[in-house]
């Protein structure tokens, strides 16, 4: 059996046996990315709805900036958070660098523009269809926009899943602010990078398979929701 085939077989054995190191790493990945998405969802959905409803000078520039942040490189986010939380940084006193909390903050910053920009698009489209009628019923602009989040809840669920997929599969930010400390801040992506560089292919492959399965599952759920519910397509502009 070739070395690669042997590594793949070992990887599946690690998954089947629920290897403790593997489980711990996967669990931390879910906790960090899930926490980041919950935090970013509150802020991002409110920001998206508000941007769809509000009319103010410079709104187009804000939207352009938000669109630009969609392509925010994760290493840049990592660097900014690192500078903020390093000993000499403005938030250094918090002492959370190289902890899961810093990783959650970094991923929150990473996915916040995605949630805000995509929810803005969803709400703005819905307001074009029914905003006038909701306003005529007594809703303020903001209330009408928030009702549209409820109206388009399946599209919102889809964009939140997309944000989770982005968070759980990124490596740059968590590597910089988490430090990839075994048992403390090691998540799937940082572990894959490390194990591959060490030549420990079975664990790297096992984590890769789990990560790929998670992303595939997310995409399957998104497809299911979109087709089953007639959800409007959420497009990256």
């Amino acid at each position: 059996m070739s070395a690669v085939a042997e590594s793949i077989a070992t990887a599946f054995r690690l998954i089947a046996d629920a290897d403790p190191a593997l489980v711990r790493t996967v669990a931390l990945s879910f906790a960090v990315s899930g926490g980041a998405c919950v935090g970013a969802a509150w802020l991002g959905l409110l920001a998206g709805a508000w941007l769809a409803a509000a009319r103010f000078a410079g709104r187009r520039i804000v939207l352009l900036g938000l669109d630009t942040l969609l392509a925010l490189p994760s290493v840049v986010v990592g660097l900014v958070v690192y500078l903020g939380f390093s000993r000499s940084g403005p938030l250094g006193a918090w002492g959370i660098l190289f902890t899961p909390a810093a990783m959650v903050i970094a991923q929150t910053i990473l996915v916040l523009p995605i949630i805000a920009a995509l929810s803005h698009q969803v709400v703005a489209d819905a307001l074009r269809e029914g905003g006038d009628q909701l306003r005529s019923m007594g809703a303020s602009r903001l209330v009408a926009a928030l009702l549209m989040l409820l109206h388009e809840r399946w599209a919102v669920a889809t964009l939140l899943l997309a944000a989770f997929g982005r968070a759980i599969s990124e490596v740059g930010a968590v590597m910089i602010v988490g430090g990839n400390i075994d048992g403390v801040t090691r998540v799937m992506t940082t572990a894959i990078a490390l194990e591959t560089s060490k030549g420990d292919l079975p664990l790297a492959l096992a984590l890769g398979i789990v990560l790929l399965s998670v992303v595939a599952l997310i995409n399957a759920v998104i497809a299911l929701i979109s087709h089953g519910r007639g959800v409007p397509t959420v497009e990256w502009r």
Binding site: G130, M137, V143
Partner: protein, 240 residues
């Protein structure tokens, strides 16, 4: 232009105009709506019916004066009602939450059930609102507006997209509202419907109010000019 003289109007326009860019959709409209009236705004396509209705409802920017009675509340039923992707009952509860602030949750539920019964949709209360037929959706829109007990109900071509049976159901509901004393202002291209439901007709021609008369008089008199052409069917209209 003949003008109806109504004491104590719920709503009045004085020389009100609406512009969309270079186009004047409604020009110098002056009219008053009194409590209990059923007013039909008729006219050819593009004559300004819907804009006048929206102007009366206060949802388009205008020049001139629009005054609303102190206690007057309004609701509007649109040609294609926008329903939230929620159940029929929840759509009503949202409308009551928006339009009748201060009602306790229990009272909102009671009113929602009452409104569903009023339009005959009780058995569909838990169905997704968007799964209803066109006629049922329009009845739900009527229930939504009726449930907040408006002083004036505006309707924009309420039966324009409905089949004859659904049209009849909606007309019957509107006749009921009018019989109960609700003030109604509706735009319609359907002169038969205007004749059946309205107590007063406002005829729009090129953005201006061309005639404002009690229904019987509108259909009995020779109005002259384009109004006669409209009534004869030489301008677009339908008598169904």
């Amino acid at each position: 232009m003949a003008s109806a003289d109504m004491p104590g109007p719920l709503l009045a326009l004085r020389e009100a105009s609406v512009r969309f860019g270079d186009v004047v959709a409604v020009r110098d409209a002056t009219l008053a709506i009194a409590a209990g009236e059923a007013v039909a705004i008729v006219g050819a396509n593009g004559s300004g019916k819907t804009t006048l209705l929206r102007l009366l409802h206060g949802v388009v920017p205008n020049s001139g004066t629009r005054s609303v009675g102190a206690s007057a509340s309004q609701a509007m039923v649109f040609q294609r009602p926008f329903l939230l992707r929620l159940s029929v009952r929840r759509n009503l509860l949202v409308a009551l939450w928006l339009g009748a602030r201060g009602l306790a949750a229990g009272e909102r539920r009671r009113r929602a059930d009452e409104a569903l019964a009023r339009v005959g949709l009780q058995s569909l209360a838990d169905r997704p609102a968007r799964a209803l037929s066109g006629g049922e959706q329009q009845r739900l829109a009527l229930a939504r507006s009726w449930s907040v007990r408006p002083s004036i109900l505006f309707l924009d071509e309420p039966t324009a997209n409905l089949d004859p049976s659904a049209k009849k159901e909606v007309e019957s509901l509107l006749a009921g509202f009018i019989a109960e004393g609700m003030t109604i202002v509706m735009s319609t291209h359907n002169l038969g419907q205007a004749k059946r439901l309205a107590t007063r007709i406002v005829y729009m021609d090129g953005g201006r109010i061309g005639a404002d008369l009690p229904t019987a008089q509108f259909f009995a008199e020779r109005l002259g000019g384009r109004a006669d052409l409209f009534l004869k069917g030489d301008l677009s209209w339908s008598l169904e």
